[in-house]
């Protein structure tokens, strides 16, 4: 396994009076796509939000490239090179597609070559460049959300359920985009419920249950082992397909 770029050790986090994370231990290997799996309510989204500093850590440590980033303000964490695509995509619907992208390029004007690459990945963004982002379809919004995260090179992408509510053809497009990111060895931590999508893309995997990581290893290990899937996720590939 490659050296890990992000590591969580014993991370606990609460939302209001509820304990959501009960000591999460997670390693995200550099240059790989890691899938975070688990049932609804297992704490996957909260784990991503905690890494971004959006949920307060009550105990444990979050380390990014060896540096302790626990409790740092969100903007500082983002500037270290972590991009976050939340479950609701978080696009600014009153802004145009262009304005959304302009803000995403925090280091200054967008690199034209990189923008062309993003347009190649997601052609609708070019077409609707000067339209309000709120008028985009669900799939196009997701494209914009991911495009924002990659318009500048980032060390780590945190992506929360990109396939949620999207049509199969669009999911396929998204998978293609992630394939390209993988080829470029961008480190991605992907929360995903769609097991086929995860199996296709994931190199490493971690499974969460009840606020903790209960299994982690290579994706192939999990994908090839129906019993393990049953045990961890309550599904077998046979039933799922």
């Amino acid at each position: 396994m490659a050296e890990s770029i992000l590591s969580l050790s014993g991370v606990r986090a609460d939302i209001d009076q509820y304990h959501i994370l009960h000591g999460v231990d997670l390693e995200v290997p550099a240059g790989e796509l890691t899938v975070l799996l688990g049932r609804n309510g297992a704490g996957k989204s909260t784990t991503l939000r905690t890494i971004m500093g959006l949920t307060t850590v009550t105990d444990g440590k979050v380390r990014f490239r060896g540096e302790d980033i626990t409790g740092q303000p969100t903007p500082r964490i983002a500037r270290k090179g972590i991009a976050f695509v939340p479950e609701n995509m978080g696009i600014f619907s009153l802004l145009t597609v262009r304005e959304n992208m302009v803000l995403a390029a925090v280091d200054g004007p967008m690199d034209p070559a990189r923008l062309d690459w993003v347009f190649d990945l997601f052609p609708p963004l070019k077409k609707f460049w000067n339209r309000a982002a709120g008028n985009l379809s669900g799939g196009q919004k997701q494209m914009l959300a991911i495009a924002r995260a990659i318009i500048e090179p980032r060390e780590l992408l945190l992506v929360d359920e990109p396939t949620k509510g999207l049509a199969p053809a669009i999911i396929n497009d998204l998978a293609g985009a992630f394939e390209q990111l993988k080829q470029q060895q961008v480190t991605v931590l992907l929360v995903e419920q769609n097991f086929n999508f995860s199996r296709r893309l994931g190199q490493s995997a971690a499974v969460m249950n009840d606020g903790g990581v209960v299994w982690s290893g290579q994706m192939t290990e999990l994908a090839d082992n129906d019993d393990l899937q049953h045990e961890l996720l309550g599904l077998g590939l046979g039933e799922h397909q």
């Binding site: 971004m52 959006l54 303000p73 903007p75 978080g90 600014f92 619907s93 803000l103 709120g134 924002r148």
Partner: protein
């Protein structure tokens, strides 16, 4: 043409016009209301009076816009109700007036150029003093109460009382007369040759207020629409969290907007001081009624709505004040109630997602 055809013809044509009219009313409610108000007023008075009142109303609107724009942004972006905004208006007025008194020799010269040597420092000083107080106020008073409206109301009302008392301490408890610079007194006479409105005397100061108000509205619109900071402000109105996720320190943006808003309130106050030529520490409180009406009827957080709201409030004040002076104060609030019954979100709402 048979009677039947005629009926169809009559009923169809107005339908098209009506539909277009309805579309205009719904899509451009601010312009519709403005035109409606101006047209109704024109029917009720002599055109010469109407021109005079309209210019005065626009001037008042321009000054109220300056005062209100900061508050609408602080509310829209930061969700902060700053009821001490009126105190910044008062402070700006006193700061500006002090400079005018201090530079009274320049202000009393008949040359506009020499006058400007008093006016610009006065406005600049008002802007800076109110902005600096805004900086201190945000750190000291607003910062601990982000996210809690009740506490914001209590603490900013308290802050407002303190600022106004401090004005009493520094400038004394009495009303202070403000010398209006010589070049800004008097009026332009419209050429007699003009049909209907020839010979109307337009007060110079009001025309200048309109020009300055328009210029600042134009500048603010440009900043909000075209610059990166403007995009950030609009994004922040929509989702503060996502602005932070992108790596921007929204607290810094808040602070900047708060300081700019306070500075504009000070500028508006200084202009109001020269307009009224007499100021009191509580003038800001009196103006706050107009300011609050303006930001509510314009749509909280909308600069454009704030501008049109201010113009509407200025016009209705002057029109009604002329037609039935006793109703002038009622008219402002009545306008707000009417607009809210028609469009509960205000004229140009900024939708929070």
């Amino acid at each position: 043409m048979s009677a039947h055809d005629e009926m169809i013809g009559q009923s169809e044509r107005p339908q098209g016009v009506l539909a277009r009219f309805a579309a205009f009313r719904e899509n451009k409610p601010h312009i519709f209301l403005l035109l409606l108000m101006m047209a109704v007023a024109l029917l009720m008075m002599d055109p010469r009076t109407w021109v005079l009142l309209t210019i005065s109303g626009l001037a008042m609107g321009a000054m109220v816009f300056l005062m209100a724009s900061g508050m609408t942004l602080t509310f829209g972006l930061m969700n902060v109700l700053n009821l001490a905004h009126g105190a910044f208006i008062s402070l700006g007025a006193f700061a500006g007036a002090s400079v005018l008194v201090w530079l009274s020799s320049q202000a009393s010269e008949p040359s506009l150029l020499i006058n400007l040597a008093a006016i610009l420092p006065a406005l600049g000083f008002a802007l800076v003093v109110a902005g600096l107080l805004g900086l201190v106020f945000e750190r000291l008073v607003i910062k601990p109460v982000y996210g809690d409206h009740l506490k914001q109301i209590l603490v900013t009302v308290g802050g407002s009382i303190i600022i106004m008392e401090l004005i009493h301490v520094v400038w004394g408890p009495n009303e202070i007369p403000v010398p209006r610079p010589e070049a800004l007194t008097g009026a332009f006479l419209l050429p007699e040759a003009l049909p209907v409105i020839g010979g109307v005397a337009l007060e110079k100061y009001r025309l200048i207020a309109v020009v300055l108000g328009l210029a600042i509205y134009g500048l603010m619109t440009w900043i909000i629409e075209r610059t990166r900071v403007g995009i950030l402000i609009r994004a922040g109105v929509e989702s503060r969290e996502m602005v932070e996720v992108q790596g921007y320190r929204i607290r810094l943006l808040f602070l900047g907007v708060f300081v700019a808003g306070s500075a504009l309130a000070g500028l508006g106050g200084a202009m109001w001081a020269m307009y009224r030529e007499i100021i009191t520490a509580h003038m800001g409180d009196e103006l706050m009624i107009s300011v609050i009406v303006v930001i509510i009827l314009g749509g909280l957080g909308s600069i454009k709505g704030c501008f049109y709201g201010a113009v509407l409030v200025g016009l209705i004040n002057l029109y009604v004040g002329y037609l039935e002076p006793r109703l002038a104060a009622v008219a402002t609030v009545g306008l707000m109630v009417g607009v809210l019954m028609w469009r509960p979100q205000g004229l140009i709402p900024v939708i929070k997602v």
